[in-house]
């Protein structure tokens, strides 16, 4: 266990936003919250999963809902901690630590906010190693562990707990109705996991991975290098395409941001076209009509100059971007992992394909 320093917060946010694969929401507002808490003297501890006892209960937290609403209803650490406290009281237990559902996007910082308020350490792990749109894509869900109980809280002092549901779909149906009624964003805490479950099925050291990615990008910027090239080299990724956003189409259906974007190649890619499709996160890429990258690999669109991630809700005409692919956590490349997170799980009729080999 070690304390995260104030200087690590910004690289962590930068790296988490890249690991969001276009989704997960920009961590910027959560970062501001944490920086203020750090200015007030708070420090958050990062706990290696190996330090967990097998029966330590760990709270799994996330903010859920519509990213655009989250831009107006600002993050609040005390609000972030409420569902965890409600679940702790419901289960009559004391959590040993707190952990994120997903390291991609703003949820990477959600457990830090909860930790800042409660004094618990944050486990260096998550259940996705990136951002994914569905709870069924959590590594724990793929491993067959139950997703309940789920606790939700809104800013008005309302709490809802779903202790049981017929199946995960029923849980989602009910949670979505509650979410809609309380205003489309909610802090959540779900199915506490034991230390043993995390060590066996968690995506380990993903907080460190996000931090490392952010540091690589920041250092390259600092020495006026190429952040995209530095990142790809350090993380065994691939540059898929460099170009200019020519077209973007978005629609919000069933609480998902779906759409596509077309990029025109520049420099080495001049004359080529890359098409990206997204369901919250980027799901697949076609180069001149042929599939070249798919989920669960982490497809990222970065500003070509700064290496800053660009979310699917923020891509705009004329942006000069680099599209890169970072390797998916091994967990998702198993047959069960691919069944739950591969292209077919997103409705495509082709299999996983990676530009890495």
């Amino acid at each position: 266990m070690r304390l995260l320093s104030r200087d690590e917060l910004e690289p962590l946010a930068t790296g988490a936003w890249i690991l969001g694969a276009g989704g997960g929401g920009n961590p910027y507002l959560a970062l501001l919250n944490l920086q203020r808490l750090y200015e007030q003297g708070t420090r958050v501890a990062l706990l290696d999963p190996a330090e967990l006892a097998d029966d330590d209960p760990v709270a799994i937290v996330a903010s859920v809902g519509a990213p655009l609403v989250g831009r107006e209803r600002l993050s609040d650490p005390h609000f972030a901690a409420r569902p965890m406290l409600a679940l702790q009281s419901h289960l009559d237990c004391r959590f040993r630590a707190v952990m994120s559902v997903e390291i991609g996007g703003t949820n990477a910082l959600q457990p830090l906010m909860v930790a800042a308020v409660t004094g618990l350490p944050v486990v260096d792990a998550d259940s996705m190693g990136r951002a994914f749109p569905e709870a069924s894509m959590m590594s724990f869900a793929i491993a067959g562990l139950p997703a309940l109980p789920l606790a939700m809280a809104d800013i008005r002092d309302t709490e809802v707990i779903i202790p049981r549901a017929a199946d995960p779909q029923w849980m989602s149906r009910i949670a979505r109705k509650v979410l809609g009624e309380i205003g489309a964003v909610s802090a959540t805490c779900r199915a506490p996991r034991t230390g043993a479950e995390i060590k066996q099925h968690g995506i380990l050291h993903s907080t460190s991975r996000a931090l490392r990615i952010g540091r690589t990008v920041h250092e390259a910027r600092h020495r006026h290098g190429d952040p995209v090239a530095a990142l790809v080299e350090a993380e065994r990724g691939r540059v898929l395409f460099g170009g200019k956003v020519q077209d973007i189409e978005r629609r919000t259906t069933d609480s998902f941001l779906r759409g596509s974007s077309r990029l025109l190649g520049l420099d080495g890619d001049r004359g080529a076209m890359l098409t990206l499709e997204f369901q919250n996160e980027f799901a697949a890429a076609w180069r001149d009509g042929a599939v070249v990258a798919t989920t669960p690999d982490i497809i990222c669109v970065l500003d070509s100059e700064s290496g800053e991630a660009i979310g699917t809700e923020m891509i705009r005409y004329g942006q000069r971007v680099s599209v890169i692919v970072l390797p998916a956590p091994d967990f998702f490349l198993t047959p069960q992992g691919l069944a739950a997170t591969g292209p077919r799980a997103f409705g495509y009729d082709f299999d996983y394909r990676t530009p890495r080999n």
Copy 2:
């Protein structure tokens, strides 16, 4: 404490349906359930509130939702007990007994079903002394006691607990969304009340009142007497009108069954007209345009021959009925009681008026 006999079940159902004031739903299906449980050897104990220790926790149960759906999704004692068990686990307590939210209609039998499954006794009391459409009309709510936590359960093994809400309206908004998603009927268990709270704010001996009313009606039928006259005499009520249903108009808005019915007078009331308006329950009556009875008095429409209650969802053209008024529990005739349950609480611009004096 005494065991309820099998012979008491039917009079209890008859009396509860009369105390429903047109609402609360016909207890017939719950009665069939209980009769079967009694045939299998189960017995339910009735506990006088005076026997409760001041700190005994009591589960307050009810079935909520659309009465018409309840005709198709049949009552199931195990399903009725589920929210109580969920709340017991959530609060980490052992309930001493179980009690109904409302003695009017099918909810009079809800705690008996829970008791049959769990072995707990049923407290001879409720929080309405009749049926009312809103949780804010519970005596406990009027006394300022919190309405949470609320536990709901559906037949698919889904449970939802609302431990906190900004206010009772927020609780209702969220509960209604959950209710809609799980299919418009739900068993519930809410804010356990202590023995002291029940003794101070409950409507005491209302189970006995329902049973007594039912017995009066059954005995009059048995000796070919006049059940309506016998009931009114025994319960210090008034016959408001005898006539024939001429017109009925119903609409379901905001989960309430609202509407009105016009009756043409017969015999002593020949030439007169009575208009009844209802919001689930009968709320007010006009004789030839003048208000003659209002909530919280218990306005009942009974079959003139059998004395059987006729619910607001079942009134039909041509029925020969007697309209009677039974006195409201004293609790609701206090200024706070009238503010919460009098005509103005139902949107009328006139005050409580009773035909009793």
